[in-house]
Symmetry: C2
Subunit: 220 residues, 2 copies
């Protein structure tokens, strides 16, 4: 009896080449520490970078997991958050209210994901590449919760820094409501809180309401 | 029959106070992004901070998990790495070769852990506080693997930056071998690799051997 598979997979890397590939990935991802976002640190000393943002989101997932959909695999959400911004090594950060910059963003980032996760041996890079797709597609409870936190964290920072990036870029409350409503799909209680934060920021004059404020507020 | 516990625990926080406490913790830990380590980024542009270091370690745990002891809970190690440096919000980073700075370090950090994890509701802050102890005690496979990565990452950066913090502080190879040998307790193959990196750094003149180099090398 022949127990060999008729179509064997690719020959595995020898141990040393495998570890070299893994360490090559680990050194490569160091670059994400130099990708700056629009969000300020809460002490307003500087802009936040993607690595520390990802760290913050991972710990938010752990400490806010009770607001995630029941039965969700929290570790899957944590891993997703740790890797979700690696593509910005090649593509840079696009400010989420920059509508021109958003055009073609997904295609550019998918090519970056192929390159970066492709540095790892296929048996570990492949699943991480799929996890990046899952985050982008927002179809699973894990990816909806992860995306909710990715939207909530800059809102917390903007509110803690007298309007922060919202004020700097003249973003209005109606646009904040429209863009971040998807928090409700991953964590309804956190969206209720975030919505109240927006209303409060408008009341405190940190955020201009914008022309569609009442309508967006009524939309939930 | 009385099914109530005779000594009920503390009254749970109402929902809104609970979320406020959780968000208070999340804003507090933003401060760890401003705690600088001695390690340079691989492009030598600046020193690394604790938040991005913790992110890097968490992704190292995920991508290098095959070198961890069999049966280890990798998610436990990841969570441990995400929180292990939060105490430095109060205590700052102590360079690991600063022997005077290491005196009393554990007691100072344990008090910081009480304060910081104490910001969370007890049912989530308590387990994280225990996880911090577990990391410090290095008795479990998870904590040994996490500590191994915490030692390995600065070595990778120092080798990628022509000696980096080692050269800046005049640290010799014998001390590097002595301090980092515990990598072998959590990830023997990674220690074999790290040891070869040290030998190579000495051969390339990035690291002075120091008086005890041959003896430390022979010690494994």
């Amino acid at each position: 009896m022949n127990c060999e598979p008729s179509h064997p997979g690719p020959t595995p890397l020898p141990a040393s080449a495998r570890l070299e590939a893994q360490l090559g990935f680990i050194l490569e991802i160091d670059k994400v520490k130099s990708v700056l976002r629009q969000t300020l640190l809460t002490d307003e000393s500087r802009r936040e970078n993607d690595a520390e943002h990802s760290w913050h989101l991972a710990l938010m997932a752990i400490t806010l997991q009770e607001y995630a959909p029941a039965g969700l695999d929290i570790h899957r959400a944590v891993t997703m958050l740790l890797i979700h911004d690696l593509v910005e090594i090649d593509c840079g950060d696009t400010f989420c209210y920059d509508e021109a910059g958003m055009v073609g963003k997904h295609e550019r980032e998918a090519a970056a994901a192929d390159r970066i996760f492709g540095l790892l041996p296929a048996d570990s890079g492949g699943p991480l590449r799929e996890l990046w797709d899952e985050f982008e597609e927002r179809r699973t409870p894990e990816s909806r919760f992860a995306n909710a936190l990715d939207r909530l964290q800059p809102m917390l920072h903007n509110c803690a820094t007298a309007g922060g990036a919202w004020r700097e870029h003249g973003v209005t409350a109606d646009r904040v409501l429209r863009r971040n409503r998807i928090i409700g799909a991953g964590a309804p209680e956190l969206w209720a809180y975030a919505r109240a934060m927006i209303v409060d920021a408008v009341a405190r004059g940190l955020l201009d309401p914008g022309p569609d404020y009442e309508r967006e507020l009524a939309a939930g």
